[in-house]
C-alpha cells in the first residue's frame, strides 16, 4: 500500500493545490498586513485592534453569533423534531423541506431586504397591517431574526437525520418504564441529541460570524459587527491592511469554533447516523396537543419564510414596489438582456466549480480517511482553512496573491472557481470522511485481495459507496457558487462577474426590481439543479446511504 503510485500522485497533486490555493494566498495576506514597504511593523494593526469601536464590533459579532447559534438551533430542532416524530403526511414533509430550503438556496441578503420592507416605520407588516409607527428596523433584533431565518435550515438538516436515527426502541423502552412522553423527551431524546445540538450550534455560530451581507443591510449604526467593519475598512477607507487585520481578529473565534466542532463535538455522537432510518416511531412519541403546538410553531416560521419570498417575487413583478404596483415583466426583460452575460458567467463558473469541487471533496476526503501518508492530518486541517475563514479574508487574500506573476489569475474565471472549490469543497471532504467512517474498511480490503489496485478499488467500490457525499459536495458547491458574495465580491472582474454581486449592486443602487428578479432567478436555478442532483443520487443510490440534503448543513 505504501508504494502505491496512484496514492502518491494524488497526495502530491492535492498538496500542490492546497499550498497554492490555501496556504499561499493566506501567507501573502499576512505578509501584507505585517510588512509595510518590506519593513516589519505592527503599528497599524495595533491601532486598529485597540480601537474602542472595533473592539465593540468584535463583541457584537460574538453576541450575534451566540444568539443566532442558540435561536437557530432551537428552531432547527423544532422543525427536525416535528418532521421526525409527528408522523406527518408525505406532502407536508415535502412542503416543509421546500420552505426550509428556500433561505439556504438564496443569496444571503434576500431575507434582509424583505425584512426592511415588512418592518420599519412604513413596513408592510408593522405599519400597513398593524398600524405601528416609529418602529426601527435596524439593529440587533432584525439582524438576528434575519440571520436565524437564513441559517436555521442548517440546524434542521443536521438534526433531522440524527433524530430519525435514534432507535425508537429507546424511547419506547422509557415509555414502558412508566415515564410520561414529556419525561421521555427530556430524559432520553434530548440527551441523545446533545452532541447534534452542539454541532448545529457551532455551525450556525460560524455562519453568523462570517456573514457580512445581512449586517451590512440591517445592523444599522448602533450595532456594528466585525465582518462588515472589515469590509468597510477596505472599501470605504481604502485600508487594506486594517481590513485584513480586522479579518484576522475574526480568525480567532472562527478557528476556535472550527476546532471545537471538529475535535470535540464530533467525537461525542452517541448515535451513528446510518441513514437507514430507525424510521417512524412505532408508538406515538408526542401527544396530540404537543403535536398541534409543534405544527403551529413550524407553520408560523414556514409562513414567514414563504411570505418573504412571495414579497420578493412580487417585487420582481411590479414596476416599483411601494410606488407603482403595476404588474410588469420589465425587470426580467432587463436581466435577460443586459444581465444575460452575468447569468452566463455565473452558470459557467458554478457549472465548472460544481464537478471540480465535488471531485476534490471526495478525493481528499477519501485520502485522509483511508490512506496512510505523511502529513495526512495536516492535509485535512489545511483543506478546512478556507472553509473556516470568513469569506472576506479569503477574497482579499486571493485578490492580493493572484494579481501578479508568477501566478496571475486576477480577472479570470479560474480565480473564482478556485475560490469556490477550495472553500466550499470542504463540505464534500467532511461528508466523505463522515460517510467513510460508516463504511467498513474490509470492503476495500476485499477488493484489494481480489486483485484490484487502489485506483480500481476507489473507482469501483469506494466511489459508488460515497456517491451521496459526492452529490452533497456537488450540491453545496453549486448552491454557494450561485449565492456566495463575501469572498467573491473581491474576485469578480471585467471579464467575469456574478449574479450575487449584481444583486447587491442593484440593491445599493435601489433598482429593487432587477435585484428581486435576479434573486428569484437564482432560487429557481438552484432548486432545479438540486432536484436534478437528488434525482441523480437516486439513480446511483447505494443501499443505506445518507439522504443528500442532510449534508448541506455540514
Amino acid at each position: 500500500m505504501r508504494r502505491d503510485p496512484a496514492v502518491a500522485v494524488a497526495v502530491v497533486a492535492l498538496w500542490a493545490m492546497l499550498l497554492l490555493f490555501v496556504a499561499y494566498p493566506l501567507a501573502t495576506l499576512l505578509g501584507r498586513v505585517l510588512f509595510d514597504q518590506n519593513a516589519f511593523t505592527t503599528a497599524g494593526i495595533v491601532a486598529i485592534l485597540t480601537d474602542r469601536n472595533q473592539i465593540r464590533a468584535f463583541w457584537n459579532s460574538l453576541l450575534l453569533a451566540l444568539l443566532v447559534g442558540g435561536g437557530g438551533t432551537i428552531i432547527g430542532f423544532l422543525f427536525a423534531f416535528t418532521a421526525a416524530r409527528s408522523r406527518l403526511p408525505r406532502w407536508l414533509l415535502t412542503a416543509i423541506d421546500a420552505a426550509v430550503l428556500l433561505p439556504l438556496v438564496s443569496p444571503p441578503f434576500t431575507t434582509a431586504i424583505a425584512m426592511i420592507f415588512s418592518f420599519g416605520p412604513r413596513g408592510l407588516l408593522t405599519y400597513e397591517l398593524l398600524g405601528l409607527k416609529g418602529v426601527t428596523v435596524y439593529g440587533l433584533t432584525s439582524t438576528l431574526s434575519s440571520e436565524i431565518l437564513t441559517y436555521f435550515p442548517i440546524a434542521y438538516l443536521t438534526l433531522r437525520p440524527l433524530l430519525a436515527a435514534i432507535d425508537s426502541n429507546l424511547e419506547g423502552m422509557a415509555l414502558s418504564l412508566g415515564a410520561s412522553r414529556w419525561r421521555v423527551f427530556r430524559t432520553v431524546t434530548l440527551p441523545l441529541c446533545i452532541p447534534g445540538l452542539a454541532n448545529a450550534f457551532l455551525l450556525l455560530f460560524a455562519a453568523s460570524l462570517a456573514d457580512f451581507a445581512t449586517p451590512l443591510i440591517l445592523a444599522g449604526n448602533n450595532f456594528p459587527v466585525l465582518p462588515t467593519q472589515a469590509y468597510l475598512q477596505i472599501t470605504g477607507l481604502f485600508d487594506l491592511r486594517g481590513g485584513a487585520a480586522l479579518s484576522f481578529m475574526l480568525l480567532v473565534p472562527a478557528l476556535a469554533v472550527f476546532l471545537l466542532q471538529r475535535y470535540w463535538v464530533s467525537q461525542r455522537f452517541y448515535v451513528t447516523v446510518t441513514g437507514k432510518g430507525a424510521g417512524q416511531a412505532p408508538f406515538d412519541s408526542i401527544s396530540p396537543a404537543a403535536r398541534g403546538m409543534l405544527l403551529s410553531a413550524c407553520a408560523l416560521v414556514a409562513a414567514t419564510i414563504v411570505y418573504f419570498y412571495a414579497l420578493l417575487l412580487y417585487a420582481s413583478l411590479v414596476q416599483a414596489l411601494g410606488a407603482n404596483h403595476t404588474l410588469t415583466l420589465r425587470h426580467y426583460r432587463v436581466i435577460f438582456t443586459e444581465g444575460l452575460r452575468v447569468i452566463g458567467d455565473t452558470l459557467i463558473i458554478a457549472g465548472l466549480a460544481m464537478p471540480l469541487g465535488g471531485l476534490y471533496g471526495i478525493l481528499l476526503g477519501y485520502l485522509v480517511a483511508r490512506k496512510q501518508f505523511v502529513g495526512r492530518r495536516a492535509m485535512e486541517l489545511v483543506s478546512m482553512i478556507n472553509y473556516a475563514l470568513p469569506g472576506t479574508i479569503v477574497g482579499i487574500a486571493y485578490l492580493i496573491a493572484f494579481n501578479d506573476p508568477p501566478i496571475e489569475l486576477t480577472g479570470t474565471a479560474l480565480i473564482i472557481i478556485a475560490c469556490y472549490v477550495f472553500r466550499y469543497g470542504a463540505t464534500g471532504v467532511r461528508a466523505t470522511v463522515a460517510l467513510l467512517q460508516q463504511i467498513d474498511k474490509s470492503l476495500e480490503e476485499a477488493s484489494q485481495s481480489l486483485g484490484a489496485g487502489s485506483g480500481t478499488t476507489f473507482r469501483r467500490v469506494t466511489l459508488p459507496l460515497i456517491l451521496p457525499a459526492f452529490f452533497a459536495g456537488l450540491g453545496v458547491v453549486f448552491i454557494r457558487s450561485m449565492t456566495a458574495i463575501s469572498a467573491t465580491i473581491f474576485l469578480v472582474s471585467i471579464s467575469w462577474t456574478l449574479i450575487t454581486v449584481k444583486i447587491l449592486e442593484n440593491i445599493t443602487e435601489l433598482s429593487l426590481g432587477p435585484a428581486a428578479a435576479y434573486s428569484v432567478l437564482v432560487v429557481v436555478i438552484v432548486f432545479v439543479v438540486i432536484a436534478l442532483i437528488g434525482r441523480g443520487l437516486r439513480w446511483f443510490r447505494a443501499p443505506g446511504s445518507l439522504p443528500v440534503t442532510s449534508m448541506f448543513g455540514g
Binding site: 449604526n221 481604502f238 471531485l359 474565471a413 479560474l414 459508488p464 443602487e509 435601489l510 429593487l512
Partner: protein
C-alpha cells in the same frame, strides 16, 4: 456501474475545458477596460454612445467608489483596467495619495473651471452633482411639515429617527455633506459638529452608499435625507412621491471625475475615452438618457427640467484644497463624535 465510469471520465475532462474557458480581460486593440463607479444604467448608454462615435468598445464592470478604489489599489502592480470612470472627486483625491493615476490633460482641460480638474491632470471632471434634501410627501403631510428649507428644519421633532443619510467612512456623498455643513457654519468645526451631534438622534441610519437612503425615503420607511441630486431625481422618476428642496443657508456640490490608470495596458484608448467623456460629446447625451448630472463642461447647456429644480438654490462648490487638507481628520472626528457618541 458503467454509467459511473463514463461519467467520471467526463469530470476528468472538465479541467481541460476550464483552461479553454478561463481568460483574462480582453487586450484586443479596439477595447478599453474600465471600472465604472456610475451605476450600470447610466454608464452603459454612455459607453454605447462612445463606441458609436469612435468604434472603440468599452469593457466595463461597475463597483461602488470604495470597492473600485480598493481594487485599483490591489491591482496597482499589474492594472486590469485603463480608466476609472465616475465617482466623486474625493475618491480620486484618495487615489492620488496612492499614486494610482497617470496624469493626462484631455482636449477640454483648458476650458474647464479650476475646480473641475486636478492641476497636473491626474483627474478631470465629467459632471457636477449638487446635494439636495429629499423628503417623503406622505410623511410631510402626516406631520404637517413643509419641505425643509433650512438645515435647522431637519432638527424638528417629527424627524426623530426618520432621516437616512450616508456614512462618511464609505460614501463621498457624506463627505460632501459634512463639508457643506462646515461651510454654512463658516468652517467653524466646533459649531458644525455641534449641529451634527444635534442631528444624530434624528438619523435612523447612516447608509453605506450615498444613495442608500433614497428608496427608504421613497417608501416612507424614512421621512427624508440628504442625497446627491442624481439619486434624488432618479427616485422621483421611479414614481415615488418625494419632494426635493434646498437649504437657504446653502449646500455643497461635488464633481464627478475620470482618470487614467498608471500602467494601463491600453493608454491611448483610455485617453480617447477621457477626451470624449470630458467633452460636450458625452455630456450632451445626459438629457437623452435622463441622467440628472449637471454637466461639467461650460459649453453644455443644462437640461431645462433639471435647471428648473435647481433654480434659485444656493449651491456652492466644496473647496478642494480645504477639503483635501481636512478630509481625514474631519471623517475621523465624525466617526468618533457623531457616529459613535
Amino acid at each position: 456501474m458503467r454509467i459511473v465510469t463514463h461519467w467520471l471520465r467526463t469530470i476528468v475532462a472538465l479541467p481541460l475545458l476550464v483552461l479553454a474557458l478561463v481568460s483574462g480581460p480582453s487586450a484586443a486593440a479596439d477595447t478599453v477596460n474600465v471600472y465604472s463607479i456610475w451605476p450600470e444604467n447610466w454608464a452603459r448608454p454612455m459607453f454605447e454612445e462612445f463606441e458609436k462615435a469612435t468604434g472603440i468598445k468599452v469593457n466595463f464592470v461597475r463597483f461602488s467608489s470604495g470597492e473600485a478604489l480598493a481594487r485599483v489599489i490591489a491591482e496597482k502592480s499589474n492594472p486590469r483596467v485603463d480608466v476609472l470612470f465616475g465617482g466623486p472627486v474625493e475618491t480620486f483625491a484618495a487615489g492620488i495619495n496612492e499614486g494610482l493615476f497617470e496624469p493626462y490633460k484631455p482636449t477640454s482641460f483648458a476650458k474647464l473651471p479650476e475646480r473641475f480638474r486636478e492641476a497636473s491632470g491626474q483627474w478631470t471632471a465629467i459632471a457636477d452633482d449638487p446635494l439636495v434634501f429629499m423628503t417623503n410627501d406622505k410623511f410631510l403631510k402626516e406631520n404637517n411639515l413643509k419641505a425643509p428649507a433650512s438645515w435647522d428644519d431637519l432638527l424638528a421633532a417629527p424627524y426623530k429617527n426618520m432621516l437616512q443619510m450616508a456614512d462618511a467612512r464609505t460614501s463621498g456623498t457624506a463627505v460632501t455633506r459634512i463639508f457643506s455643513i462646515l461651510e454654512v457654519n463658516g468652517r467653524d468645526e466646533n459649531r458644525a459638529f455641534a449641529y451634527m451631534k444635534k442631528l444624530r438622534p434624528n438619523v435612523q441610519l447612516y447608509t453605506k452608499s450615498g444613495g442608500g437612503g433614497t428608496l427608504p425615503v421613497g417608501l416612507g420607511q424614512a421621512g427624508g435625507g440628504i442625497f446627491f441630486i442624481v439619486d434624488a431625481l432618479d427616485t422621483k422618476a421611479k414614481g415615488y412621491d418625494v419632494t426635493i428642496s434646498f437649504p437657504k443657508e446653502g449646500i455643497g456640490t461635488a464633481a464627478e471625475g475620470i482618470a487614467l490608470i498608471k500602467g494601463a495596458k491600453n493608454p491611448e484608448l483610455g485617453k480617447k475615452l477621457i477626451d470624449w467623456a470630458t467633452s460636450p460629446a458625452m455630456q450632451n447625451q445626459f438629457a437623452k438618457y435622463k441622467i440628472n448630472f449637471v454637466p461639467a463642461h461650460p459649453e453644455v447647456a443644462l437640461e431645462p427640467s433639471l435647471a428648473a429644480v435647481i433654480k434659485g438654490a444656493n449651491i456652492f462648490p466644496i473647496d478642494a484644497a480645504y477639503a483635501g487638507a481636512n478630509r481625514k481628520h474631519v471623517v475621523e472626528r465624525w466617526v468618533a463624535e457623531v457616529l459613535n457618541p
